[in-house]
C-alpha cells in the first residue's frame, strides 16, 4: 500500500454566501499524477490554493506530505512546487534571471545554482533563450519556464493550476512528457484542467462541478462505470434532429461532431437504438445509429449535466 501525498476530509471554502468548495474528500497517492477536471468556476483553483496553504479552508482537515495545512504550510513551502494559473514570473527579467531569483528565494546553495539552472534550461529546451526577456517568450516557452522554475528546488509535490491553457497541442504533448518524467523521478503531481486530452493522461482524476466532487477514479474506470450509453447518429440536418431530442429527460446530452450527432442516453433504457427509432421515427429514418465507447468528455458531460438538471 503506497502512502498518501495529500489527504483532505470535508474540505470546504466559502466566499460570503458562495460555496466554492463543498465538503471535498481527497486521497492522492504518492508518485502519481492526479487530475482535477472541471469547468471554469468549479472550485479547482480554490482547492489547489487551500492545499498549498494560500487560502485558509472554512472547514475541513488537510494533510499534505504529512504536514497539517494551513498550520504547517511554511514547512511545506520548501517541498512544494506551485505553478499558478496566470503566468507569475517577471516579464521584465530574462529567463536566466528569473530562475536565479527563484533559486535564491529557495536558498539553493550558491555553487549548485548555476549547475541546476543549466540543467533545467536544457531539460526544458530553453538553453538557447537564457538571455531573452521573459515577456517576449511564446506561450509554450513561458509554460516551460514556469515549470522549470517550479521544479528548480526539486519539490516532492507539484501543483499545476491549468498549466497548458495557453499552449498549442504539440507543446502540450511535450509538456506532459516532462510531467511523466518528473513522476518517474518520484514527484507527486496534482494538475487542474478543463481539457479532456489532458485529463485522460492522469493516473486518476476527480471531476469537480460547483465545488462538489461528481466522480473519481482512473479515466478508464470512469468511462467504464458511466451510467449512460453513447450513440452516434449520422446524416444531414443534424441540428433539427438535435432540437427534437433535447426535450426528453432520457436524453442526457447531444452534441454534433462533424457529420455525426453524439447522443448520451440514460442507461434506464435497455435498447437505446430501438428506443430512439421508436420515439422519433420521422427524424431517424434513413440514418445509421451506432453504439460507441464512451469518451472522457461523455463522462464529464454526464457528470456535470446531471447536476444542472
Amino acid at each position: 500500500m503506497s502512502r498518501q501525498a495529500i489527504s483532505a476530509k470535508g474540505l470546504t471554502r466559502c466566499f460570503g454566501d458562495f460555496m466554492a468548495v463543498d465538503h471535498l474528500n481527497l486521497n492522492i497517492e504518492e508518485k502519481t499524477i492526479f487530475g482535477f477536471l472541471g469547468p471554469n468556476g468549479s472550485g479547482k483553483s480554490t482547492t489547489l490554493r487551500m492545499l498549498t496553504g494560500l487560502l485558509t479552508p472554512s472547514q475541513g482537515d488537510v494533510r499534505v506530505l504529512g504536514l497539517e495545512i494551513p498550520k504547517e504550510s511554511e514547512a511545506l513551502r520548501q517541498r512544494l512546487g506551485y505553478m499558478t494559473q496566470k503566468f507569475s514570473l517577471y516579464d521584465d527579467l530574462s529567463v536566466e534571471e528569473n530562475l536565479k531569483f527563484m533559486a535564491q528565494i529557495f536558498n539553493l546553495p550558491g555553487r549548485e545554482v548555476n549547475k541546476r539552472i543549466d540543467s533545467q534550461l536544457t531539460t526544458y529546451g530553453l538553453d538557447q533563450r537564457r538571455k531573452r526577456m521573459t515577456g517576449s517568450l511564446s506561450g509554450g516557452q513561458r509554460q516551460r519556464l514556469a515549470l522549470a522554475a517550479a521544479t528548480l528546488h526539486k519539490p516532492e509535490l507539484l501543483l499545476l493550476d491549468e498549466p497548458t491553457s495557453a499552449v498549442d497541442p504539440q507543446n502540450r504533448r511535450d509538456f506532459w512528457e516532462t510531467l511523466f518524467d518528473l513522476c518517474d523521478q518520484g514527484v507527486t503531481i496534482l494538475v487542474s484542467t478543463h481539457y479532456m486530452d489532458e485529463a485522460e493522461r492522469c493516473h486518476s482524476l476527480a471531476i469537480l462541478e460547483g465545488g462538489i466532487k461528481q466522480a473519481e477514479g482512473s479515466p478508464k474506470q470512469l468511462m467504464a462505470d458511466m451510467q449512460a450509453r453513447v450513440l452516434e447518429v449520422d446524416g444531414t440536418e443534424l441540428r433539427l434532429v438535435r432540437e427534437a431530442l433535447t426535450a426528453r429527460p432520457e436524453i442526457l446530452s447531444s452534441a454534433q461532431q462533424g457529420a455525426r450527432l453524439r447522443v448520451l442516453i440514460t442507461n434506464t433504457i435497455s435498447e437505446p437504438e430501438v428506443w430512439l427509432r421508436s420515439q422519433w421515427p420521422e427524424e431517424m429514418k434513413d440514418r445509421t445509429i451506432e453504439r460507441v465507447r464512451p469518451s472522457l468528455e461523455d463522462v464529464f458531460v454526464h457528470c456535470t449535466q446531471q447536476r444542472r438538471q
Binding site: 490554493r49 498549498t52 496553504g53 494560500l54 487560502l55 485558509t56 494551513p70 511554511e74 513551502r77 520548501q78 512544494l80 506551485y82 499558478t84 496566470k86 503566468f87 507569475s88 514570473l89 517577471y90 516579464d91 521584465d92 527579467l93 534571471e97 536565479k100 531569483f101 527563484m102 535564491q104 528565494i105 529557495f106 536558498n107
Partner: protein
C-alpha cells in the same frame, strides 16, 4: 546546534533579501518611465516652486529675555502679545539661551529687553532688540512690521518721534529670499511623493501581475520581502535629495550652514518613514491606480499643511494637529533647522524621534497586514 541553525537561517534570510534587492534594481533600470521620473520630478518642481511661491501670520512663537524687569518691559511684552502677531512661549534668562531656542526651532524670534530699557527710551535711543529666524521671510516680515508699533505714547514716554523702538537682527536669511526656505522643504515634498508612490506601486504591481501568488507560495517571509523592496528606494531618495540640494545651492545660492551628515541622517529617517507609509498603502490598495490615488491623498496635506508653503504658525489649530501627524512636517523642520540654522538632531529630538517611531510602527502594521495568504 541551535546557534548554527539560527546562523544559517540568517544567511538564508540575507540571501533572499539580496535576491529581491537585485531583482528590484534590475526591474527599476528597465522601467525607463520611472527612471526618468526620479530625475525629472525634482528638477521641474524645484524650478516651479523655487521661482513661483510666495503670503498674514499670527501667534509666532517667540522667547523673551527681560533684563529690565520693570513695569515698562512687561508693558512692552503685553503690547506685543496684544498685536497677536507673536506669542511669548518662553522666557530666557540670558540671550545665549534665547539663541539656542532659536537655532533648535523652538521659537522663531527672540525679544531682548536690555536692563537700561527705560533709560534708552527716555534718551530716544533704540529700546529693545529682536533676533529673528529669517529663514521664512513670511515670519520675519510679520515681525518687522512690529517696528511701527506705537509704544512710547501709550507708555507715556516722550519724545515719541525719536529713535526706533526695536533694533532688528535677522539670523540665517538676511536677504529675505523665499527660495532659501523653499528648497530644503522641497526635498520633503518630493521625497513624500516619490517614496510613497514607488513603494506602494512596487508591491501592488506584483499583485496585479500575479507575481505575488507565486512569491507567497515560496519560503520568503513578508518582512524579508518588504525590506528587499524598500532598500533600492532608499538610494533613490538620496539621489533626489542630492539633486535638489546641490542645484539649490548652485542655482539659488541656498546656504548650507549645518552638517551634511546631520542632513543625511534626517533624510534617512524621513525616507524610511515615507517608505513604510508606501508599504502600508500597498497592503490596502488593490491596483496601481488606487495606490497612486492614496499617495496623492497623503501628498496634498504634506504640501499644504507641513509648513512647506505656508508658515505652520499661520494655520488653524486643527490643521496644526493634523500636520503634526505627517512625517513631512517633522522632516521639513529638521531640514530647515540643519541646513539654514546649523541645528543638530540632538536639539530637535521630538521631530527625529517621531520619524523613527513612525517607521517602526509602520513596518509592524505593514507586515501584519501583509499576510502570506490570499484570504
Amino acid at each position: 546546534m541551535e546557534k548554527l541553525s539560527t546562523l544559517s537561517g540568517m544567511t538564508n534570510s540575507l540571501q533572499r533579501i539580496a535576491s529581491i534587492l537585485m531583482k528590484e534594481l534590475r526591474q527599476l533600470s528597465r522601467d525607463r518611465a520611472t527612471f526618468a521620473m526620479i530625475v525629472i520630478i525634482p528638477l521641474i518642481e524645484l524650478l516651479l516652486f523655487g521661482f513661483a511661491i510666495n503670503t498674514d501670520v499670527r501667534e509666532i512663537p517667540v522667547t523673551a529675555v527681560d533684563n529690565s524687569r520693570t513695569y515698562f518691559s512687561r508693558a512692552l511684552m503685553d503690547a506685543l502679545e496684544a498685536t497677536q502677531v507673536i506669542r511669548i512661549v518662553r522666557q530666557d534668562a540670558r540671550p545665549q539661551g534665547a539663541e539656542e531656542a532659536l537655532k533648535s526651532g523652538k521659537v522663531r524670534a527672540a525679544l531682548i529687553i536690555p536692563s537700561d530699557f527705560i533709560q534708552r527710551l527716555n534718551d530716544g535711543r533704540t529700546g529693545a532688540q529682536w533676533l529673528i529666524d529669517g529663514s521664512d521671510p513670511m515670519i520675519s516680515s510679520a515681525i518687522l512690521k512690529l517696528q511701527t508699533m506705537p509704544f512710547r505714547a501709550t507708555a507715556g514716554i516722550q519724545p515719541e518721534s525719536s529713535g526706533a523702538l526695536f533694533k532688528i537682527v535677522l539670523y540665517y536669511n538676511p536677504e529675505q529670499r523665499s527660495v532659501v526656505n523653499i528648497v530644503p522643504g522641497l526635498v520633503g515634498v518630493i521625497l513624500t511623493m516619490t517614496m510613497i508612490m514607488f513603494t506602494s506601486a512596487a508591491l501592488v504591481r506584483e499583485r496585479e501581475r500575479g507575481n505575488l501568488e507565486l512569491l507567497i507560495a515560496t519560503p520568503v517571509h513578508p518582512i524579508e520581502l518588504m525590506i528587499g523592496k524598500i532598500i533600492p528606494y532608499i538610494f533613490v531618495g538620496f539621489i533626489q535629495t542630492g539633486i535638489i540640494m546641490s542645484l539649490g545651492h548652485l542655482i539659488f545660492d541656498v546656504p548650507f550652514v549645518g552638517s551634511i551628515i546631520q542632513m543625511l541622517l534626517a533624510t534617512m529617517l524621513f525616507i524610511s518613514a515615507s517608505l513604510t507609509l508606501g508599504l502600508i498603502i500597498s497592503t490596502i490598495a488593490e491596483t496601481q491606480l488606487q495606490a497612486s490615488q492614496m499617495t496623492i491623498f497623503i501628498l496634498l496635506p504634506s504640501i499644504l499643511l507641513s509648513g512647506f508653503m505656508f508658515p505652520f504658525e499661520g494655520m488653524p489649530i486643527a490643521a496644526q494637529w493634523l500636520s503634526e501627524l505627517l512625517p513631512a512636517t517633522h522632516y521639513m523642520r529638521l531640514m530647515r533647522g540643519i541646513i539654514l540654522r546649523g541645528a543638530e538632531l540632538q536639539g530637535m529630538t521630538t521631530d527625529a524621534v517621531y520619524l523613527g517611531a513612525f517607521t517602526i510602527g509602520g513596518l509592524v502594521v505593514a507586515a501584519k497586514r501583509f499576510k502570506k495568504s490570499l484570504d
